[in-house]
Symmetry: C2
Subunit: 165 residues, 2 copies
């Protein structure tokens, strides 16, 4: 299936790709919305959070064949790769997945015309944006449950961050 998508905008951040990768809570930047889509922003001021759907354009065809990954966030904390569980990409944030589409929640700081200034970006500079949606109360799910392997991994990350100060 081939679908035609037209980027409605582009991510702009002064942070390097390495800084984006390492930032625990994302980086700051802005989404530049292309002029022909400006009317689509009417009324967006006042929403504190937005959902950004982006196309991870740097992912290669080979990387799109990846189906299982290890959470790599612990690697630079001294944990060895083989100590991490191998899990499906559909329960991971890996950009390596069959359709490299990101769904990122960002904080909207302000709008200036065609620019949406945001915090919490985990997207590289110049990433094409496919869609923006408002983050509404029905997106807040209370009482979620998580598998044991995920809880253990999150515990390890919290521990590693404590040690790192």
């Amino acid at each position: 299936m081939v679908i035609r998508v037209d980027a409605i905008g582009i991510i702009k951040t002064s942070s390097s790709s390495m800084e984006v990768r390492k930032a625990q809570h994302g980086v700051s930047g802005h989404i530049k919305i292309y002029d022909q889509y400006l009317d689509g922003l009417t009324g967006i001021e006042g929403f504190s959070h937005l959902i950004v759907v982006a196309y991870l354009h740097q992912v290669t065809p080979i990387q799109r064949q990846v189906l299982q990954v290890r959470y790599r966030r612990l690697l630079h904390r001294g944990v060895k790769l083989e100590q991490l569980p191998l899990v499906g990409v559909f329960c991971s944030d890996s950009p390596h997945r069959p359709n490299p589409v990101a769904v990122t929640i960002v904080e909207l700081v302000k709008r200036e015309g065609s620019q949406l200034f945001v915090n919490g970006l985990d997207l590289f500079n110049n990433t094409p944006v496919l869609d923006i949606k408002h983050y509404t109360p029905n997106r807040v799910i209370q009482n979620i449950s998580l598998p044991q392997w995920y809880k253990e991994l999150e515990d390890k990350i919290v521990q590693a961050e404590k040690v790192a100060g």
Copy 2:
């Protein structure tokens, strides 16, 4: 920009499109994951909620030109269309938008092999699925704020539902 996307699965529900449209909390059904992507599900059991990225294949090229909409949920409650504010598609759930991609949060009831049984679907039968992501605690944003027009609209919907019993 043309990107090639391969549906990783398909939505299956016995609910009609009209039932899906009218259901306030979505309908039940399952996501059938295609065999070649099965490994991507490893470890997904135990997550109570998933994020489904789907391609709204019934949206026409003309509908993709829509940039402003009125929230139509109040129409069948006797509210007139012109009484509803005209807002940008990027702060609406309208399927009519430049790139008709849905981001739906569903409750995972159980997995049976290649089938993920879910509640909360707002997607029609046979909608192609592009991606699945796990819903994790960092998706829960506390203290969100909303514009005045949105709060007024939600109030009206709550009122209308009360009247309807």
